[in-house]
């Protein structure tokens, strides 16, 4: 077991990935699945943009357009951005704190498979009678009125994948709380670890409201309850509140890890420690906290009354302050530094102005009285794509280039990387800048077409052209990935040369047991400290000993599969005359609970890699 990958057949590799509990392999899974869903969401976005290229276009029908935009939003947020971030967290965070693994390797794998099956379930709606069509927010009155099973797919798919995300969150939290290497105090943790920590806490508190509201939606649609049915005493505003109590923290779940990634990149490529580290940490926590106090800024026009609107408006604007602290700290990290314009750094450089613009329009939206104009227009669409694409997606591209060597042992091509950046950056601004104005000129969002003569034609045309540039950028990065994977030139521990944190002190890719001996951390930027003192690597904090490893397991896959099956039963049992629904529910749940029971009855203590084998590995490790 302790000898690392020799050449193995496809079947063996597949089986390895289906059963792996290694955080680095799970990261690959997240990256692959998240990447797939990103392309899917991107194609949906392209369809949206093509439909809107000119007035009265009939590229897609009205109903199909609504399905597209719903699935675009849902896919991008739940199945692309978040999983991709979880992927990088999995790949890097345990290394950054010098942990052997995550706290719950089994749960880690279960979390992935739940997300994956949830996502697959959601997307199967395309083939089984139509996708959800009430927007990613799925506001209750419309989603109750929506015919067919689209919304049921949404509800059940998100429920399943939401459980997975929740598990991922708890797992990261416990890992960070309990498994930091000796000397790695909280205030020595790299910023990406900190943002992982805060984002995971947000997951922990934001997903339960979503879970509850999705359950209620499911009960309403499939089991006859009346939470949102006004004629039975129900109330649709409950859904809105729940969705945004979840939804607003959700956007910070996305952006905080992105902030973390850029914090690492700025420090490394300007060869300077992060300016104002402690205030960065403070700002991160504060953003996380305030993130729970502002949700109603999505509901200014709902009619909550001036008092609530005023309170939430002011609270919303307050978030500008900690975010501003971050922006300026980044700028002053660069200030006085020695900046090298690698591809990850280019994304970072592009990120600052792009995100800034999205952020300030956010504060404009926060001005409740003015939001009556902005709300549900393309101004909002522009705002959130500026923060999400300019912040989160940029960070994902940056992290892909930056961590690719650590994850796969080979560098992505820098030239192609820069081409991707230029195409995507220009395309991005072309697409979304003009949308601010489209909104102000009176274009509501979520419209499948618009009439000529309203002054909206040129803007939409420009916007669509930009989207094509973005697509081209994405295609270049795909080519890049394929090319470099085929070439597969191996790199050493610290391929960027300026690595500061622990993940760069270990081989690329790291051995499956991570650090042979836990490293001793002597300060912030632990690896940098050692390098500056002329040392090659980290000082070990413990003598070489046996390493305890968890066993691979197929059970997470089966548990998730069971829920996937049960979800079909839940959905179709509500159809008139359906007879197989209930049995399928029982079957699915039996698979899930049966495999859970099996797992808990059979003790699995893992195995140990012996000291001697570890010493052998010394030589087999990748040459620097």
């Amino acid at each position: 077991m302790s000898t690392i990958a020799q050449k193995r057949g496809f079947g063996a590799v597949l089986w390895e990935y289906l059963t792996t509990v290694d955080h680095k392999k799970i990261a690959h899974l997240y990256l692959f699945a998240g990447g797939f869903f990103f392309i899917l969401g991107g194609i949906e976005a392209m369809i949206i943009r093509i439909q809107l290229i000119k007035p009265n276009n009939d590229f897609v029908s009205a109903g199909l357009f609504n399905e597209m935009l719903t699935m675009h939003g849902t896919t991008m947020i739940f199945l692309a951005a978040m999983p991709l971030l979880l992927g990088f967290m999995n790949a890097i965070m345990p290394l950054q704190i010098g942990a052997r693994d995550v706290a719950f390797p089994f749960l880690n794998s279960l979390g992935f498979w739940l997300f994956f099956f949830g996502g697959v379930f959601l997307n199967l709606s395309w083939f089984l009678g139509g996708a959800p069509d009430a927007g990613w927010t799925s506001y209750a009155s419309l989603s109750l009125a929506s015919e067919g099973h689209g919304i049921d797919f949404y509800v059940l798919g998100l429920q399943i994948s939401g459980f997975g995300t929740l598990m991922g969150g708890i797992n990261f939290l416990v890992t960070i709380i309990n498994m930091r290497a000796p000397g790695m105090t909280y205030m020595r943790m790299p910023l990406f670890t900190w943002t992982t920590f805060v984002a995971s806490s947000l997951i922990l508190f934001a997903f339960p409201p979503l879970t509850v509201s999705i359950f209620m939606m499911m009960f309403d649609r499939l089991f006859g309850s009346n939470f949102f049915d006004a004629s039975m005493g129900g109330n649709t505003i409950i859904w809105e509140h729940f969705f945004w109590i979840f939804g607003h923290p959700e956007v910070y779940i996305l952006i905080l890890p992105a902030f973390g990634i850029f914090s690492e990149i700025f420090a490394v490529f300007s060869r300077k420690r992060l300016f104002g580290y402690s205030s960065m940490v403070f700002a991160t926590v504060l953003i996380g906290f305030l993130g729970f106090m502002v949700w109603a800024h999505h509901m200014f026009t709902t009619g909550l009354g001036p008092i609530a609107n005023a309170i939430f408006a002011v609270a919303t604007m307050a978030i500008a302050v900690p975010t501003g602290i971050k922006i300026f700290n980044w700028l002053f990290t660069l200030w006085g530094g020695s900046i090298k314009f690698t591809t990850p750094m280019l994304w970072g450089i592009g990120f600052i102005p792009s995100f800034l613009m999205g952020g300030v329009t956010g504060v404009m939206l926060g001005a409740a009285a003015a939001d009556y104009q902005y709300h549900d227009t393309y101004f909002v669409v522009a705002h959130f794509h500026y923060v999400i694409v300019g912040g989160v997606v940029f960070s994902l591209f940056a992290a892909t280039h930056y961590y690719w060597p650590k994850m796969f042992g080979t560098m992505l091509n820098e030239f192609l990387g820069k081409i991707t950046f230029v195409l995507f950056f220009i395309g991005f601004h072309l697409t979304f800048f003009i949308q601010h104005f489209l909104g102000l000129w009176g274009m509501p969002r979520r419209i499948f077409t618009y009439l000529p003569g309203q002054g909206l034609d040129t803007g939409n045309f420009v916007s669509t052209i930009g989207a094509f540039l973005m697509a081209a950028g994405v295609i270049v990065i795909l080519i890049n990935i394929i090319m470099t994977s085929v070439k597969n030139e191996k790199v050493g521990n610290d391929p960027w040369g300026d690595g500061r944190t622990l993940e760069w002190a270990i081989s690329s890719p790291p051995p499956f047991y991570n650090f042979k001996q836990l490293p001793l951390v002597r300060g912030l930027d632990a690896y940098w400290i050692e390098k500056m003192e002329g040392k090659k690597g980290m000082i070990p904090a413990e003598p070489l000993g046996d390493v305890h490893m968890p066993n691979n397991s197929f059970v997470p896959f089966v548990i998730s599969l069971g829920l996937f099956i049960a979800a079909f039963g839940v959905m179709y049992q509500a159809d008139e005359g359906n007879t197989w629904g209930i049995p399928v529910i029982i079957l699915g749940l039996a698979i899930t609970f049966g495999s859970m029971l099996a797992r808990s009855l059979r003790d699995d203590h893992g195995y140990h890699i012996h000291k001697e084998d570890l010493m052998d590995d010394n030589d087999k490790g990748v040459k620097a």
């Binding site: 719950f104 939290l173 498994m179 508190f205 509850v212 209620m216 009346n226 039975m232 005493g233 109590i245």
Partner: protein, 209 residues
């Protein structure tokens, strides 16, 4: 230290639930989960409070028509007592007294079962006496969802504790299963915490009007 090692009283640590890294992880992880559960139940309470007595027509029963003190009081006493019995179980775990721990856990399970039985009776009563079903109004949906979620937690807790008791009956205590017992008892207490708010907010406040 290997977790499944046979234990003796002398070697038994003061906090067996946190002795191994796995134990510590379980312990912290479970508490975090409870933090999330707090929000989950708060959401359900919020929904209930928003929809309380919200019925489509006025001859449907309201909270003050439904609830009666004796039944709720009995259920409350049973569940509170079961909290104490599970504390006893943990007390014996700390003293490495496996037999007694098992005994108290079984008692806890029995109390939990009787609570559940009463709850089923209660729901049945509402349905048949008042026509207060899950689908009859927003109020009823919210009521059954909140109380039912709690009931489901009770049922799950019972199954969990029972599984632990049976599974480990032959093996005795060790550092591998001590954390499992410990977090199961935490779970049970948490269920009790939720019930305290349920009987206060749903039943007592319901009866006040």
């Amino acid at each position: 230290m290997h977790a499944e090692e046979k234990m003796t009283l002398e070697k038994w640590p003061a906090s067996p639930e946190k002795q191994t890294l796995e134990g510590k992880n379980k312990f912290v992880g479970f508490w975090l989960f409870l933090g999330g559960e707090t929000v989950l139940f708060a959401s359900l309470f919020a929904t209930y409070l928003a929809l309380k007595d919200s019925v489509p027509n006025s001859d449907m029963p309201l909270a003050k028509d439904l609830f009666e003190i004796p039944l709720v009081f009995t259920m409350t006493m049973i569940l509170l007592t079961s909290s104490l019995t599970s504390v006893y179980a943990m007390y014996h775990m700390k003293n490495f007294n496996f037999k007694k721990m098992q005994l108290w856990l079984v008692i806890t399970v029995l109390l939990g079962l009787s609570f559940l039985g009463l709850e089923i009776y209660e729901f049945n009563h509402y349905v048949h006496e008042f026509g207060h079903t899950f689908t009859s109004s927003a109020f009823s949906s919210a009521f059954y969802t909140l109380v039912g979620f709690h009931g489901a937690h009770v049922a799950f807790g019972l199954a969990w504790i029972l599984a632990l008791v049976i599974r480990n009956n032959k093996r005795g205590l060790n550092l591998y299963n001590a954390p499992k017992f410990y977090i199961a008892s935490l779970y049970w207490h948490f269920i009790d915490v939720v019930w305290v708010f349920i009987f206060t907010v749903v039943y007592l406040m319901g009866m006040v009007g």
